[in-house]
Symmetry: C2
């Protein structure tokens, strides 16, 4: 018994998807980074560099200064968006990572697909469900693999939570609560990310930018997709006049399991996912932000176990998975079709917020 | 600064409602206890005894053995329900505490009102909204004071949480999450409380029996009442065939603040209330059960303060307040009208679970 527990702890951060030997990789996947905002610079580029399966070779952005800065910091070639779309340095990369404002994903993914490059596109996939469908179709038509950047899915804490659920440790799942909030205006680096406040560029704010985390993580953990959603959105601060500052929503999973979620771009920091089953409660807190260590607790019959473990670099794990699956010629779990389910849920949440009624989510009928 | 903090800690469990001197009480309120189930025996009778403002003098129940056992344990007079309703020993009590199955509250409260006795009735007030209205009317018509047994409202942890909200420590409230669950079948003492599974006696199970806690505690903490509710209920275990085993609901408070709640009679123990504001998060965990110590945490900008304090006997506090307000000739905060708002919310949650649509809660139109 104790040996099994020790083994469980030893194996907590294992990459259960890894079949290749990372020390034997001689030709990592060469990645062009599209978008040089704070996330790309502080997290994605370091993650690509840390991962044995990837290396960054090209960067582009509408902000020439940002491109120049990245090119000076790292051994990458800076190009303009026009040059990138024209394939000026297409020989220098095998794959394209898109981390631009939501409504510009489609144009860059189309360019990458036309160049025959594998794509890793940030979530949410696009600013609208329709544009997201066209993005997925562009990759399908070109026959290029598309992964969507759900970094929670390669986080060991989330994978172990799912393993515990799959193993029945929590019994039947009764319900899920999730909260994710931040003070976005205070955390914005100058005006660089103000595009999140422009509905034409973002498609929405609290639900689109944050809500996608509890939606996708709940889907991944439960291994099910919501059948119906309802939601409410509101904005009070003038900066959020055109978008949702706060959102709450219910995801109705099969068998009557509900996930109740609150997200806010203007509230105290919260980052929590809790799954209550008949036999145990599983708590991730902190759960969602790349910049915080995961907390992982299992509560059962008055016993609470808090698991401390070697924290991973979440973006390294994501890019390692991306590069690994390409090198191993294996499919991505979070692919385009997978991401369209989130886009349908988000679309339904906003529709429900408008009408006051729940929205049934069918299969995709593009 | 430090002195103010120390004073705050010293005063944490203060009875801010108390104007009388408990050591000077010579004639405590004499209470007839109607219903001798486990809660009355394990919690209410000890609470009445501990409180300086009350003493138990009479007990009745349909279970003659239970009455006999209580009479043997404590210095109280046991009577049959018929004798109680006929006022056989009405001279021996000033007030009546009703802790019977929900659908029998009305008959006992009517008898108490006819005898001119003050009433403390357990929540939920009755099995249906209509019967609850008749119960409140019976007390109003007879001119007897009615308190409803919302023990959270006299719990210092809940009062201090409300104080912090009132003082603006959390800023504007953005959202509330609450979860309350237990394995009711395992915790039932034999068949004594099986009435909760009989919809005619209970009016419902998870939402009625547990949901009333997050509903009322959220109302009390926010100082607002919900304007609209939606809910889902479900039952899987055969024991819950006639009632809701699990329920989730959303309470829509003014200004767009939502409380998202999950309650279950057949899930791992959970007991949590979390209020997220623009400036702080306030967490009660454990929050709701009489048998557990409260946990109280304030989280603000990366600082988390866990307050440990002298735990009170929650039922002593409730009865102290009941007796105190009667002796001081002061009104009850949780009175009949207050309780009808919860009954309307519960009624709306069940209606919404039937129709799939949110239900607007108007003022009471009996």
């Amino acid at each position: 018994m104790e040996a099994a527990f020790a083994e469980y702890l030893d194996e907590f951060t294992r990459r259960d998807w890894e079949t290749l030997d990372p020390t034997a990789v001689t030709d990592p996947v060469r990645v062009a980074v599209v978008g040089a905002g704070w996330f790309a610079r502080d997290w994605a580029l370091p993650g690509i560099s840390r991962s044995a399966y990837t290396e960054a070779t090209v960067v582009t952005d509408v902000d020439e200064d940002a491109v120049e800065a990245v090119a000076a910091e790292r051994d990458v070639t800076g190009v303009t968006p026009d040059e990138f779309r024209a394939g000026a340095v297409a020989d220098a990369y095998d794959a394209v990572y898109v981390a631009t404002p939501n409504a510009t994903h489609l144009e860059y993914v189309r360019a990458a697909a036309a160049q025959g490059k594998a794509v890793l596109c940030e979530k949410p996939l696009e600013a609208t469900l329709d544009r997201a469908r066209r993005l997925v179709a562009a990759c399908e038509d070109a026959g290029v693999p598309l992964m969507v950047g759900y970094r929670m899915q390669t986080d060991p804490a989330v994978r172990r939570l799912r393993d515990l659920l799959d193993a029945g440790v929590a019994g039947d799942v009764v319900g899920v609560h999730a909260a994710m909030s931040q003070t976005m205006l205070g955390e914005l680096d100058g005006d660089a990310d103000q595009w999140r406040l422009d509905p034409a560029l973002s498609g929405g704010c609290a639900a689109m930018d944050l809500g996608v985390y509890p939606i996708n993580t709940a889907r991944f953990a439960l291994g099910e997709d919501p059948e119906r959603v309802s939601g409410r959105t509101r904005s009070e601060h003038e900066a959020f006049a055109g978008v949702d500052e706060h959102a709450t929503f219910r995801l109705e999973f099969p068998d009557g399991v509900d996930a109740l979620c609150t997200v806010s771009q203007n509230a105290q920091h919260a980052s929590r996912l809790e799954v209550t089953g008949t036999e145990a409660r599983l708590v991730l807190d902190p759960a969602f932000y790349e910049r915080e260590d995961r907390g992982f607790a299992v509560v059962r019959d008055g016993t609470r176990v808090d698991l401390d473990f070697d924290q991973v670099h979440q973006i390294e794990e994501e890019f390692a998975y991306f590069g690994h699956q390409l090198l191993a010629d294996e499919p991505f779990h979070p692919d385009g079709e997978h991401a369209l389910t989130d886009m349908r849920a988000l679309d339904g949440i906003y529709e429900s917020a408008d009408t006051g009624r729940p929205v049934a989510l069918g299969d995709d009928a593009a």
